[in-house]
Symmetry: C2
Subunit: 188 residues, 2 copies
DNA sequence: CAAATACTATACCGATCGGTATAATGGCGG
DNA sequence: CCGCCATTATACCGATCGGTATAGTATTTG
């Protein structure tokens, strides 16, 4: 295991467990069994370390989301694919999803939120585009794409949060329930 | 304005804006135009300050919730009342709701989460009790009270979050949409 | 083989962290 | 008027914060 990867892994774990601000640089390098200059050689700053972690993870995840959000005329199918990507992502990589959720709900002026914001904006734009394309078939959604995208992603976040704390099981059945529930909100 | 109240107000605002860990004690006392011994006289520690802030706010809010969650045989009505309490609370006191949401999504091991947890547990218990009482009329919910309570509160949180960031308007219309959507999830 | 480059440790920086010892101030009851 | 208690400021504590100057050791490249 090279030291750079070990630093990324240990830092992600610590940030997810105790929060970005509460974890010191010294603690990270101790966990990775290196010293501070090594960390600063690779990442430049504590913030640079966080940006690298989130950049790598979101690069991977948002690519999956992009493929799932490729709209081909069937809105429920597309939403289902998106939900599956979120739920499977959270099950495969709970540490990252915990971190990312905590930072997303952190105060607007906090470092963590600012770093995570642009990646969430990417996700939002992908989902909003789906709803915009679907307006052709679902005219009653016209003008509501922004609210719908925010609501859908928010719903997925909320269930991911429940899943991470064992209040729900992120399985195919829950996907169906979420989609059905959300569609009912649209068509009413 | 007495200094104690001023400290509570300024600290709540700063914590909500930039996060509990990112705000230092010195900054709080400067904002309140006092010095550190004054803060430590009243609250004992930084954590004690946070506990007092959240204790006061949740004491007030959870009492409203308790009244709204008094079940009298009409589940949709009770859920509607609960949703209204959340939405009106968030509109009246957005600073507190921002803070409380951020702490709730903070890592399990963080100080902030630990302080906020017991008050959320109160809320959860109140809502779970509603579903348990409603099982008499809605037998298909039997055994799912825990998941339903978590899902309902999570839904409200998610819309409060949207409202705080202007992705939704926390009005009576949204209450109806949330209730209808949630009921559809139950009865299916 | 020489020189450059990448990587990593020791030891340190000033600033800030949460918290406190001491003492001065003020109002209030006896 | 005296003594008590609550409140507040000055000045300080050791520890930790994020970050770095310097130098050593590999590894790679010419």
């Amino acid at each position: 295991m090279d030291t750079r990867t070990e630093l990324l892994r240990q830092a992600e774990k610590l940030f997810a467990q105790r929060g970005y601000d509460a974890v010191g640089v010294q603690e990270i390098v101790d966990a990775a069994s290196v010293t501070k200059p090594t960390l600063y050689h690779y990442f430049g700053s504590k913030r640079g370390l966080l940006e690298t972690i989130l950049g790598d993870e979101f690069h991977f995840f948002n690519q999956l989301l992009r493929e799932a959000a490729y709209y081909q005329g069937d809105l429920p199918l597309t939403l289902r694919k998106i939900a599956i990507v979120f739920f499977e992502g959270a099950r495969r990589n709970p540490v990252f999803f915990r971190l990312q959720l905590a930072l997303w709900f952190a105060p607007r002026a906090s470092e963590g939120f600012q770093v995570v914001e642009k990646y969430h904006r990417e996700q939002f734009d992908l989902v909003e585009k789906v709803f915009t394309q679907a307006v052709v078939q679902h005219g009653n959604m016209r003008g509501k794409q922004r609210a719908l995208a925010a609501s859908f992603i928010g719903t997925l976040h909320h269930y991911v949060g429940l899943g991470l704390n064992d209040y729900a099981t992120l399985d195919a059945q829950l996907v169906e329930q979420v989609i059905k529930q959300f569609q009912h909100g649209i068509y009413s």
